[in-house]
């Protein structure tokens, strides 16, 4: 078995960062692999900044960004972009909202024009607001058709109780129905301000030319906003085990076991990334949970665990997931719990550590293949202050992880005695 040791060339990114006088942070990265460009124009807001009684508001605002501006109708916005073959999406997530555009590079100016228009001049026509609310309500219902989503929603309600993370970003039937055009307009006015925004552009651009275009397009954005960070109560890890069984009549039971996780800024993030790779996040079936529960025991098609995947401004979640036939329920739960306990109680082997580090350093290059990935990375680096030399630093952050680090961080961040277990499936017809 060969084992090539870190010879692959690291991805290289030439990043330029500057701020406009109105506070907008601009990040540019130029490459000419293909004649296309990705524009991510995001605002640092989302459902994290809404209240329980307005659950779903940030997500609705994000979706409505393309519903009309002072100079274009929704149809004109769609046609303007699609006539060029480009693709536009608008969104509102937990901690970021905004516009994502992919275009052929010759249409960059038009892309900048549309993204600035949506961030600055959206009008939220009454009729469109009502229409999208109706659609939201239907989409909330449709979530019940996907048992994995349902299990995830139930899990979040339990472990993130009392914090904004407990809510699905899309909101609830009863809160979304009550949202009004005024709610939308107010949220947009307060939150969508240039000093709260980041514009990342990656791909086939001429940086100098694009700078002038950005200054022209976004300089007029002078909304001051009132986005002072709200008091976000941080989720605390539970101190007792919790179990929740939800009956739905499906072929499989979907099981999530876990508790509150960590923030992206946590200094132990990289040790936990290595831990994730050992316990349950490898591609294929090398890591423990997929290898043992899927490849050896045949319990599932889909089973994994992670703690770093959901790390954000607020603590995410440590979860282990499995979807299996109802008759395997108790084996599956005990199998996951056993692996969670084992990684906390027993040191990982040197071979496991070596394989995980080798994978993480060797696969890093694949995170920078597409312009959209690069644009997302630029924003991630800005939000978490990773530094644009992160690409050079990353291998060492991974390589310096030791067996003792893994032992220390699993003991610190994973508590096998106090886990939340959520089961969604035909649990009424099986014994548990």
């Amino acid at each position: 078995m060969q084992h090539s040791q870190q010879r692959a060339s690291l991805p290289k990114l030439d990043v330029e960062r500057f701020e406009l006088p109105n506070g907008l942070v601009v990040l540019l990265s130029e490459n000419h692999s293909i004649p296309s460009v990705s524009i991510n124009a995001i605002v640092r807001t989302g459902s994290r900044y809404e209240t329980d009684d307005k659950a779903g508001l940030a997500s609705l605002v994000g979706e409505l960004l393309d519903a009309g501006t002072t100079s274009r109708t929704s149809q004109e916005i769609a046609e303007t972009v699609e006539e060029t073959g480009g693709h536009l999406a608008t969104f509102g997530d937990y901690q970021s909202s905004g516009v994502v555009l992919t275009l052929l590079s010759k249409d960059l100016s038009l892309g900048l024009d549309v993204s600035s228009d949506l961030l600055m001049n959206s009008t939220f026509p009454e009729e469109k607001v009502a229409q999208r609310i109706d659609r939201r309500v239907a989409q909330i219902k449709a979530r019940l058709d996907v048992p994995r989503t349902q299990a995830s929603d139930v899990f979040n309600e339990i472990v993130f109780k009392g914090t904004p993370m407990h809510r699905p970003a899309i909101g609830y039937d009863d809160t979304v129905k009550k949202l009004t055009r005024e709610d939308v307009e107010t949220f947009y006015r307060c939150q969508y301000a240039p000093s709260n925004a980041i514009l990342a552009i990656a791909g086939d651009i001429d940086k100098q030319a694009v700078k002038n275009r950005i200054a022209d397009g976004f300089a007029e954005w002078n909304r001051s906003g009132q986005f002072g960070t709200p008091v976000v109560s941080q989720a605390r890890r539970q101190t007792t085990p919790i179990e929740k069984f939800v009956t739905v009549h499906k072929e499989q039971v979907n099981i999530i076991i876990g508790h509150v996780g960590i923030t992206r800024g946590n200094p132990d993030y990289y040790s936990l990334l290595v831990m994730d790779t050992i316990l349950g996040s490898s591609p294929g079936f090398t890591s423990r949970i997929p290898r043992i529960l899927r490849d050896e025991q045949g319990l599932a098609y889909s089973t994994y665990s992670n703690i770093t995947a959901s790390a954000g401004l607020d603590p995410g979640r440590f979860i282990a997931f499995i979807g299996t036939a109802p008759e395997n329920l108790s084996r599956a739960i005990s199998g996951l719990r056993k692996e969670i306990t084992r990684i906390v109680e027993e040191p990982v082997t040197a071979a496991e550590l070596d394989i995980a580090k080798s994978y993480l350093t060797g696969s890093f290059v694949f995170r920078f293949q597409r312009n959209s990935q690069i644009a997302e990375f630029l924003i991630e680096a800005e939000v978490y202050r990773l530094g644009f030399d992160f690409l050079e630093k990353y291998p060492e952050l991974i390589r310096s992880t030791t067996i003792d680090d893994i032992t220390r961080v699993t003991r610190k961040y994973i508590d096998p005695k106090n886990l939340t277990t959520v089961v969604v499936g035909p649990v009424d017809v099986i014994e548990h």
């Binding site: 006539e83 009549h249 072929e251 294929g284 090398t286 979807g323 994978y359 696969s363 009424d428």
Partner: protein, 452 residues
């Protein structure tokens, strides 16, 4: 020390015509044992994608044995004479790569992506598992459970039950009748011996296409390919499958009941195989109806009628004639029959040439841009090259568009589609008699029975 030579028996052809950016610099060779090799050097990213395509999918299966192609795909990760169980993933993992595989109606394909200083592991693994996969009984038993769980995920999904039923109803004779994952009952009855026999029948160089795209040197790569694959016996010839689905004579309708809060609609029309002249105009129809928010179905159903949460049109390239299909997810309070009627009105407009030249231009640009933007990664390019080399093989396809060359002429043929072609193919294929219509409705009785 190996000498790097190129086999004199291998015919090497380098693309010289302008064609598509996708086919630029593609070299094709066929080894004496029949293995087709496509290589394309791309030096802008330090990665290499390697794929092997086998021309076998659920299309090649028989009644009572459905799902074997897909099950076999799973078994190819379970070990070979050289790689013990788990080692294929381990080698991938150690080298920071990724691997996976997929099976569909016409093919089974495997891929690896590696950084370019270590990509040849992929060749070594593929060469080993082409003929030397071990079929240990206990591995077979546990993997059967995994595949059954995969099938159950599909059964729990909101769309699969309806989609499977429409295809099974539309295709009476042709094996597109069954889903690639197979029928659960067939899967339960499958044996390791069945699987091994199927592997011995289809997994040979003569039925395989190796595609390598990325940052490598062709001469060195070809030499390594010859070294690793050159000695694999050609294997038995497989007779081409000739199963014809006769023309449908009249609309077919069906209802699937399933506990669901959201009703769904699926309409399938029999439509031409890959590379048939009318297929290009139908691709334009697909984009016109459903790509983006300016598309016909979005503007009509989502924006104007407000009767659906989403609507889509799909038409995929397959070896044999397949389905052009439409899907809609209903907004509660609206009737399936009304949404169905609105879709037919939109189709009628196409039949009457109610398409502007600006709209035609838009659709063609969307088509072209998606091809460019969807090909950023070497793996995405390998997918396209391998897929068409595998499926664009019928005699009805003109020489200049056969195999991966399909991509050379694709955009030209799309650009040649006119408004009158849209009307003509809509009149020819999107007709009452040619369609199968499925409704997914809430199974109220099932819920009541359980509650009782």
């Amino acid at each position: 020390m190996k000498t790097i030579t190129t086999s004199t028996d291998a015919a090497i052809a380098t693309s010289t015509q302008p064609g598509s950016f996708l086919t630029r610099n593609v070299q094709k060779m066929v080894l004496p044992n029949g293995l087709t090799v496509l290589t394309k050097q791309l030096h802008d990213k330090p990665v290499v994608a390697t794929m092997v395509w086998y021309r076998v999918g659920s299309r090649n299966e028989e009644l009572g044995q459905t799902g074997k192609s897909h099950f076999l795909e799973h078994m190819l990760f379970k070990g070979t004479d050289r790689y013990k169980k788990g080692e294929i993933d381990l080698v991938t993992h150690l080298n920071g790569g990724a691997n996976n595989a997929f099976t569909w109606l016409d093919f089974t394909a495997y891929y690896f992506t590696f950084a370019s200083d270590r990509w040849q592991s992929a060749l070594e693994i593929e060469a080993s598992r082409m003929r030397d996969t071990t079929f240990a009984d206990d591995e077979f038993v546990s993997e059967k459970q995994v595949v059954e769980e995969e099938l159950r995920i599909g059964l729990d999904g909101p769309w699969e039950a309806l989609e499977n039923e429409v295809w099974a109803t539309a295709f009476r004779q042709h094996p597109y009748h069954w889903p690639t994952v197979g029928w659960l009952e067939d899967l339960e009855a499958a044996s390791g011996a069945d699987m091994k026999a199927y592997y011995d029948k289809w997994y040979h160089p003569g039925n395989a296409i190796l595609v390598i795209v990325g940052n490598f040197e062709t001469a060195e790569a070809v030499a390594r390919v010859e070294e690793l694959f050159g000695n694999i016996p050609a294997g038995p010839a497989t007779a081409p499958l000739r199963v014809v689905e006769p023309a449908q004579r009249g609309e077919k309708r069906l209802i699937v009941k399933k506990a669901t809060p959201v009703e769904r609609l699926f309409i399938g029309y029999h439509a031409p195989a890959v590379g048939e002249p009318d297929s290009y105009a139908l691709k334009v129809v697909e984009t016109l109806l459903a790509t983006g928010k300016s598309s016909r179905l979005y503007q009509r159903l989502v924006e104007k009628d407000k009767s659906v949460t989403k609507a889509d049109a799909s038409y995929h390239d397959h070896i044999d004639p397949s389905l052009f299909y439409l899907q809609a997810e209903l907004q509660p309070g609206f009737e399936l029959s009304n949404v169905e009627g609105a879709i037919y009105e939109e189709i009628e407009r196409l039949k009457h040439s109610e398409v502007s030249s600006a709209e035609m231009e838009k659709v063609k640009r969307q088509f072209e841009a998606s091809l460019v933007i969807g090909s950023e990664e070497p793996l995405q390019q390998a997918m396209l090259l391998g897929q068409y080399e595998t499926i664009a093989v019928s005699e009805h396809i003109p020489e200049d568009s056969r195999g991966f060359r399909y991509l050379d002429t694709l955009l030209d043929r799309i650009n040649a589609v006119g408004i009158q072609d849209i009307a003509r193919v809509a009149q020819k294929y999107l007709t009452d008699s040619n369609r199968t219509v499925g409704y997914l409705i809430d199974d109220v009785e099932q819920e009541r029975d359980r509650a009782a």
